[in-house]
Assembly symmetry: C2
């Protein structure tokens, strides 16, 4: 059964962050807890219990009210003691299987989706976004925690701060309450309970202790926020590497729609530039193609995706491509036969997108997910734009004619293959 | 509660149809009962009871087996007696609310959808597809059947052969069994029970008694099988009137995919003809646009719609339009500025469809249903094709240039308005 309740430990005084509650720090435009709680809700969690200190309680209550989260705030009057006691205070509030999570950890969508299906301590054998000096290491034996701590010499994985527990954990905290007079860490609870370990390796998560680490978390969110099923070769190996860096820089400051508008303007500008300076037009076109990934990355990283945003983005992309090819043909071609090629290249360029989008319209499913053979098929927008830029770097009449011929064949052939593959898929249904 | 059971009266000997069971006659490529039962299943019916005679029982059993319908066959050993007794034989087989329907009546999708929500006798005050001399008339008083019969002088509606009943009807048949020694018609049951009446007016239904009436039923199915949310002015007032007549002629003989292929070939031929004879090219283009409705009409009328078929049709339409505009531009235009207009007209022509289809891809809903303001917006394909034909009837360089200018503005302006309306719709969400 999937956990319906989540306990959040948020009593730590966060001395290195200016005394602000770390769960309310914004990373990629959203409070850390907004993100964690939203992702948990999407995965079936219905109720939250936040254990915090007297100083932060009011701030957390305002936050919960603002976003309408179904949560209860419990106060730990002695936050300076170990955080094991904070967990103990949630006793009686969480029944059945429940999630335990830290308020200062930032998790990606994929991480939460996978981890919520785990059991016990969720550990990462290939942590990508944490400082190993600061990380809590875990030694695992026979699928259970053998030892846990920051200074372990021998260890196999790192504690992600994400747990799937059940009521039996409170027997352990009960014992520690007696033995340690209420001052014991969560790690001590974990070690004494010999929690089972589930490995969730290499996905996006990190913790935030210093302002520097906020930047790292932001970058992690953007880098893990690529959808990418429709990405071509150039996008995977070049555009995304650059666009995610731009997104990481901008995610706190701009809206996805703002980026969409700038990308469109840049694309139209590049089309107009074909009337003057072809190499520059090509380079600007490629830049707009890189920037074209940023709106989606920022939207996903800041949990602001909108179908309407994707719709508008897609329409504008078609117009940028259409304007670029039309004006390039206008400024470089003279004879009707070459215009015929240009018309076919423009038609094919829109139809590449039409052939997969129309599939979604008909079947309500993503063509690339349903028909994986389409993924590696060349001719996607990122590839066409890059190719166009290359041909325009040293423009000559013959190379521009060659570009139009290649685009006309590449795009329309791709559409024919897409239709063929979709027909084959339809027969297998 | 929606009816889960349907009783079908199929014991009549059908003397005027060569003694074949009428429920198994094919209309628009499907047995009458296949259609009725499929439509009822789509509307929640789970179980069928077919009352037939000894001669037909085996044929009906084979039919049920072939299509895998969950049905039971009951034999009326005295089919020459009135059909009220056939209903009585279903006693104990139908509990709660159930549908009673005649095996020789052909119903459209819309009729079944509406009628199944009714109560008692479903009557039609504006029957469009029946011979009033042969029809069973109903006199209604206070919402109930007062009199019913073929030769009523005073009547307000026609019996559609479709009923929503419950177990209490068998009290009436029980009484008639005693009074009439098992020989009484369904009409007598209806009249004696004073069934409530639900009016479902003007929708597609008819009965089949003679070969002539099979043709009428076929035509009814085609005429009521227009989806039409995406139809423009020319389609509604011209193309559909012709295409449905073609569909009615062809529905028994051709597959939707066959028509799609012919339509595509005709469209490409019309595009090639722009290189030779412009008026003829335009006329052929318009003919292919008319024929473009036939595949969908035949598919719907014969319950053979397929999303894949719609997908392919849509891709091919874009290529016909693209080829027509590209070759028309190639054969009539000479100067780069006019080619720029042609490129924009071609881009806009594909984008008209892209802008509504991409909406479906994003939202899994039909743009015309969600945003009704889009329905009356000019610039749909049927209108563009018709306009193109008009301009090509007396082709002159200036009129062709005017055509491209009009198409470039009309299509791209339409896309802009579509996007604007969809954005407004998005804000209301």
């Amino acid at each position: 059964m999937e956990p319906r309740t989540t306990v959040i430990l948020a009593a730590g005084l966060g001395t290195r962050m200016g005394g602000k509650p770390k769960g309310l720090l914004k990373v990629a435009g959203r409070e850390i807890l907004y993100r964690t709680m939203t992702l948990l809700q999407r995965n079936g969690v219905e109720r939250f219990v936040i254990v915090t200190n007297e100083r932060y309680a009011q701030l957390y209550r305002e936050f919960l009210e603002r976003h309408g989260f179904p949560a209860e705030v419990i106060i730990n009057p002695e936050p300076e003691k170990g955080n094991g006691h904070s967990l103990h205070l949630a006793k009686g509030k969480a029944s059945g299987r429940f999630v335990l999570v830290m308020s200062d950890h930032v998790y990606s969508e994929a991480f939460v989706e996978r981890s919520i299906k785990g059991n016990g301590l969720i550990a990462d054998r290939r942590p990508r976004w944490v400082d190993l000096n600061e990380a809590t290491k875990v030694k695992v034996e026979n699928g259970r925690v053998e030892r846990i701590g920051k200074n372990l010499k021998e260890w196999g994985a790192v504690d992600t701060g994400f747990f799937i527990l059940d009521g039996s954990i409170f027997e352990t905290t009960e014992a520690l309450e007696r033995d340690r007079n209420g001052d014991y860490s969560l790690s001590e609870v974990v070690e004494r309970a010999k929690l089972p370990v589930t490995f969730v390796d290499g996905l996006g998560w990190t913790d935030v202790d210093t302002p520097e680490e906020i930047k790292r978390a932001r970058r992690m969110l953007v880098k893990t926020a690529i959808k990418g099923t429709g990405d071509g070769f150039v996008s995977r190996h070049l555009n995304r590497k650059i666009s995610t860096e731009i997104s990481a820089l901008l995610v706190d400051w701009v809206t996805p729609n703002g980026i969409t508008a700038v990308t469109f303007a840049l694309g139209i500008l590049s089309a107009l530039l074909t009337l003057g300076n072809l190499p520059l037009a090509g380079i600007l076109y490629q830049l707009s193609s890189i920037l074209d990934g940023v709106d989606g990355e920022i939207a996903r990283a800041s949990l602001r995706t909108s179908r309407l945003g994707g719709y508008i983005d897609s329409i504008l992309d078609r117009y940028v491509d259409g304007a670029f090819l039309a004006l390039l043909a206008y400024s470089t071609l003279n004879e009707p036969p070459w215009y015929l090629i240009a018309l076919l290249a423009l038609l094919g360029s829109v139809m590449v997108s039409y052939s997969t989008e129309r599939f979604k319209g008909a079947f309500c499913r993503d063509a690339y997910s349903e028909v994986p053979a389409l993924r590696k098929l060349p001719g996607k927008r990122d590839e066409r734009v890059f190719l166009t830029m290359l041909f325009l770097l040293y423009p000559a009449p013959v190379s521009i004619k060659a570009l139009f011929v290649i685009l006309a064949i590449l795009t329309n052939l791709r559409v024919a293959i897409v239709v063929y593959e979709i027909l084959r898929w339809g027969q297998r249904l």
